[in-house]
């Protein structure tokens, strides 16, 4: 394929498979009620996290949201520490103080998730300001959903980033739903990528189910931001396959139609990409199986690690309030 190496294609496949398989395992085990933290699964949205993060080094920063498992994994965050965090353990990435919505792995440049919609947009912008002040050739990337574009900080941050030409890439994952509320009930213009243009910010819209498209567009966005051209915006249209939070029936409470869900699910970003790679002879069935087996082994290890690691010490309730 033009502009992308065979190894990179395999890397994207591994990243996406990893996210999918971790999410499926969390979904499977969640009813055991040992992960006592709200989960927001990103099944169906894997291509965005993988496609963007495959362009970043560990020195670049990524900021994320309540639906952040995929971004954490794609940026290279420790799987053991993530699962331990879901189990509320001391060995969790946030020492059991954060849970599913507050994952972090600073050693990999994954700088944390906020469960306030849009909350990390200015923080990511501020990290980019620091890169400029310190003459560092780094990029700050922030993921957020369609509803974040309804928040004031979305506009305030873009204005400032454009004003100071900051190396920040805004990645909007438009999955059309904020809990039960469809985008059409909340916004006049469905194309969120139109709005950054008011700040003279280059903006692109891509199919968020197509990992190659996401990879190539975000590569340009990241290169431009790193090259001093200022912020870049990427809207990735995608669909939330699962409920807003937790496992269970995605059609519960009838806020959306089966037709709509099925229409979007016809295109499975992970499975379709696997078929594509096999068809092109980049991997074969055996290789695909081996990759998934390897990932599943990691996942089992991570869950075993999490379940067997200690809970936080109750006497340390107050710890970490101040740094």
């Amino acid at each position: 394929m033009k502009g992308i190496t065979k190894n990179k294609l395999i890397e994207l496949y591994v990243l996406m498979s990893r996210i999918r398989l971790v999410e499926l395992k969390i979904e499977e085990l969640y009813p055991q009620d040992e992960m006592k933290t709200p989960i927001h699964l990103c099944i169906g949205q894997e291509a965005i996290a993988a496609g963007v993060c495959a362009n970043l080094s560990k020195d670049d920063y990524v900021f994320s949201t309540h639906r952040g498992h995929g971004h954490y994994i794609a940026k290279g965050g420790s799987l053991k520490a993530m699962i331990a965090e879901l189990y509320g353990r001391e060995m969790g990435c946030s020492k059991g103080r954060g849970g599913s919505m507050h994952l972090i792995d600073t050693s990999k440049g994954f700088m944390g998730c906020s469960s306030i919609v849009g909350g990390n947009i200015p923080i990511a912008t501020g990290a980019a300001l620091s890169f400029i002040l310190n003459d560092q050739n780094k990029v700050s990337v922030v993921f957020f959903g369609d509803a974040a574009s309804e928040e004031g900080v979305f506009y305030e941050s873009m204005n400032f980033a454009a004003l100071k030409k900051l190396p920040v890439v805004y990645v909007c994952e438009n999955n059309f739903y904020s809990v039960y509320s469809h985008q059409s009930a909340r916004q006049v213009n469905e194309h969120i990528c139109m709005r950054p243009k008011a700040f003279d910010i280059p903006s692109y819209c891509v199919d968020g189910r197509n990992v190659v498209e996401v990879y190539l567009k975000s590569r340009k966005a990241i290169e431009d931001a790193r090259g001093g051209k200022g912020p870049v915006f990427l809207e990735c249209k995608v669909y939330r396959w699962r409920a807003h939070s937790g496992p269970g029936d995605p059609l519960k409470d009838s806020y959306r139609k089966l037709d709509e869900l099925e229409e979007w699910m016809k295109k499975d970003p992970v499975k379709d990409f696997e078929e594509y790679l096999i068809k092109k002879g980049i991997i074969n069935d055996k290789k695909a199986r081996e990759i998934k087996e390897e990932i599943n082994k990691d996942i089992l290890e991570a869950f075993e690690f999490a379940k067997s690691s200690p809970l936080p010490d109750k006497t340390e309730l107050m710890r970490y309030l101040f740094g």
């Binding site: 969790g92 059991g96 103080r97 600073t106 501020g126 002040l133 900080v153 305030e156 941050s157 309030l321």
Partner: protein, 347 residues
Amino acid sequence: MPWTKILIEKQEPFFDEHPDTNVRKLTVPESIRETLDQALAIDKRVFVMGQGVDDPAGMFGMTLDLHKKYGNKRVFDTPLSENALTGIATGAAITGMKPIYLHNRPDFLLLAMDQIVNHASKLSYIFGGNLKIPLVIIAVIGRGWGSGAQHSQSLHGLFMHVPGLRLVMPSTAYDAKGLLVASILDGNPVMFIEHRWLFKHKSYVPEELYAIPFGKGLVRRKGKDVTIVGVSYMVIEALRAAEELEKDGYEVEVIDVRTLRPLDEEIILDSVKKTGHLIITDTDWKTCGATSEIASIVAEKGVGYLKSPVKRISWPDIPVPTSYVLEEVFYPNKNDIIGAVKEILNK
């Protein structure tokens, strides 16, 4: 870093009437400006931002012409977007920078509450200590001259409620410098709230950098009859009241809390133990404010010391009025304190 050479203040400077008239005296804005200047000079991580920091007024003089010396990369004007700019400062802070974000008035901090309360104050805790937020937010209470309900608020009661924030309320130019140095060095989010009525006061301010530790209150005036705990500008009113009361033979002890989070409980309890009477005076609303918290602490830990009920002298629970006759009755002053002391001691 050169910061390691900073002296930790141990002396007890006397109010602002330093006995030696030859010492250098500065106003609060001059003191803040000097501190910012020195911090910018010795630490590349420090930068100063805020609406109008590089304008001809220079934030009441606190930032005057600093941009000319350090350039507009390190001292810069901002859009009015208070919430995003607080997040932006936080984002720079997590990378190790030391942003200082100035506001003309605390009223505008309400626009930034999400980033202050949901983010800056919580990131260290929710990420298990993986992030540090060395962020200083400065705001100046704009009392008076008909500034009205949205330009005169103090609001430190709101911030005092939130775990994860330091809350600093200096009452002299000496403290302004020492506490600002401590704020920059602290490595956590600091709300540094000044009072415009203190800006004309001059006090002794050493040229070299020194840090006043958080959570160390100060006995500004010793006395045995009654304890007055003051916050920010009300410390000055309390000292004025104490001077007048002295003429009538009352010995009033005045304590300046200096920082509300952390709060020096010991200095308050020790004093109440000695005097048996407590008046708390603040530049903020009464309900759920600093006065309520201090009264609660004394009720919990020192109720046995009290020979009379605690008195609180602070704002009535209404928006700040505009007309000067209403302002006059709204704001408590030394006469209210004198009245309260006499009421307690003449029983």
